[in-house]
């Protein structure tokens, strides 16, 4: 029997939870059909999380894409179908890959990250494309562009160093009407690996606290900079990401297992910590940096 999992009309870090709630009671080996026919929009987090979801299933999941040509075409340009066709059993219309000019809102199409060289490639590509958009359109300081690439490097390295599997990264800009009314640039990094809790548990001689779960592991890693490595230099990557996000009034969200921790800026009303969510293997990171509004 195949269970149909309906993708919400707008797929982002919040509405992904609706999708995972539908998936939670379905056994890992049971066939699912991920139905995105009525989806009109997806954030880079939503698209990379769909690929992660496909990787997490014991039986290959089926997928039907958006019926709206505009949406399907955007997902194609964002690089989604290139990898979805490898991971899902595709049903229905699959938009053809076009050789026309790249989508300007897609600063980095969905890109696999498995090894250190991939991180170099991601950083090179973002530097060549991001500068003009981040400085001229989002009014970010040129130095912020450099730090943006540093941030991207660090979050991608988390996959290489901790996930024990490959993952995905995507960077896009879009207008965030719902909460902010401004343009934002968003980094999404998702993997279906071992997640923060198991990564920290693998540290030799580590003593686990009485309250040890996905939320506790996220607090340790994201807030306190704890790493599975004893090396004193470890844990600086996420600390640097936190500083960058704080300085530019951005938002950092990290989901792993059944918990999600967020550094919430004043423009957002998210909860800093969400627990007892429906499970998703691995780690999913989203960084949102808003357009700078010139001071009056």
């Amino acid at each position: 029997m195949t269970t149909v999992i309906t993708v919400p009309p707008s797929l982002d870090d919040h509405t992904l939870e609706q999708l995972l709630e539908q998936l939670a009671p379905v056994a890992i080996d049971q066939k699912v059909l991920v139905d995105a026919r009525h989806t009109r929009w997806a954030s880079p987090y939503g698209l990379t999380a769909l690929l992660t979801l496909a990787q997490s299933r014991g039986t290959q999941a089926a997928f039907t894409g958006p019926e709206t040509e505009e949406t399907a075409s955007y997902w194609q340009r964002a690089g989604f179908y290139r990898y979805a066709e490898e991971l899902f059993e595709m049903h229905g219309h699959v938009p053809r890959a076009r050789t026309t000019s790249a989508e300007s809102n897609v600063l980095l199409e969905i890109t696999p990250v498995a090894k250190s060289d991939d991180v170099h490639d991601v950083v090179d590509r973002i530097q060549s494309k991001a500068q003009q958009i981040l400085v001229n359109e989002l009014n970010l300081d040129p130095m912020a562009t450099m730090r943006f690439a540093m941030t991207l490097s660090e979050v991608c390295q988390n996959i290489v160093e901790h996930a024990q599997t490959m993952g995905w990264v995507a960077v896009q800009t879009y207008r965030y009407r719902q909460r902010l009314g401004r343009r934002v640039v968003v980094i999404a990094v998702c993997d279906a690996g071992i997640g923060f809790r198991r990564s920290l548990e693998s540290a030799p001689g580590r003593k686990l606290s009485d309250r040890w779960d996905d939320a506790a592991a996220l607090e340790e890693a994201v807030i306190r900079g704890v790493s599975r490595f004893r090396d004193p230099g470890r844990g600086q990557g996420l600390a640097g990401v936190r500083r960058y996000v704080g300085r530019w009034d951005g938002k950092l969200s990290v989901r792993s297992g059944t918990a999600r921790i967020s550094l919430v800026p004043p423009w957002d009303d998210d909860l800093p910590l969400r627990e007892h969510l429906s499970p998703l293997p691995g780690s999913q990171v989203q960084i949102t940096i808003p357009e700078r509004v010139p001071q009056k």
């Binding site: 991180v119 170099h120 950083v123 130095m143 730090r147 660090e154 230099g233 600086q236 990557g237 640097g240």
Partner: protein
């Protein structure tokens, strides 16, 4: 003699000749090991400029390997060879990563700015920092010079200068303490 190591050249020779960004920990490990191998060939004591010119970006992981671990070995480990470092060719983006690792390891290092002026970055208590500024301004000092310049009590400067010397921020010679550029 001041020795010079171009990090950009080391990166291209040891990791990939197309790379201009110093990112990822494996890259940092490879570059640090190549720098350590080059340092092992040099006589001691010596001053080595670690030059970041032409490195577009330095992330925290690489800064940890190339700056943090390298300096930690020579500044904090007991009985290490007398190697002194100047950092050159850094921009604000590099410095953000470098300062973060210096703080983490409780280290300080001297940065040569574009015009040649020297600046101390990292973690150092105020008294030692002021003493370093005096040595740097004069080029060569003894404890009495420091006490006079800072209005410090007699006998207090020797300990501070010893501390700066142990942290490889000034060089001790038979006739006093010298700033690194003056040491050669």
């Amino acid at each position: 003699m001041i020795y010079h190591i171009s990090v950009s050249s080391v990166l291209r020779k040891t990791v990939c000749d197309l790379y201009t960004n110093l990112v990822t920990r494996p890259t940092g490990v490879a570059v640090r090991q190549a720098i350590e191998a080059a340092l092992a060939e040099l006589p001691e004591p010596n001053v080595t400029v670690i030059d970041f010119a032409h490195v577009k970006m330095l992330d925290f992981s690489c800064a940890d390997e190339v700056v943090g671990k390298l300096l930690d070995f020579y500044q904090n480990a007991a009985a290490q060879p007398q190697r002194y470092f100047l950092i050159r060719g850094v921009h604000d983006g590099h410095l953000e990563a470098i300062e973060a690792v210096l703080e983490r390891y409780n280290l300080a290092v001297i940065v040569e700015e574009e015009g040649g002026a020297l600046r101390l970055v990292g973690t150092l208590e105020d008294g030692a920092r002021r003493a370093w500024q005096v040595v740097n301004a004069h080029g060569h000092c003894g404890p009495l010079d420091i006490e006079r310049a800072l209005g410090a009590p007699a006998g207090s400067a020797t300990r501070v200068l010893d501390h700066l010397s142990a942290r490889r921020l000034v060089m001790r010679r038979d006739d006093g303490f010298v700033s690194l550029p003056q040491s050669v």
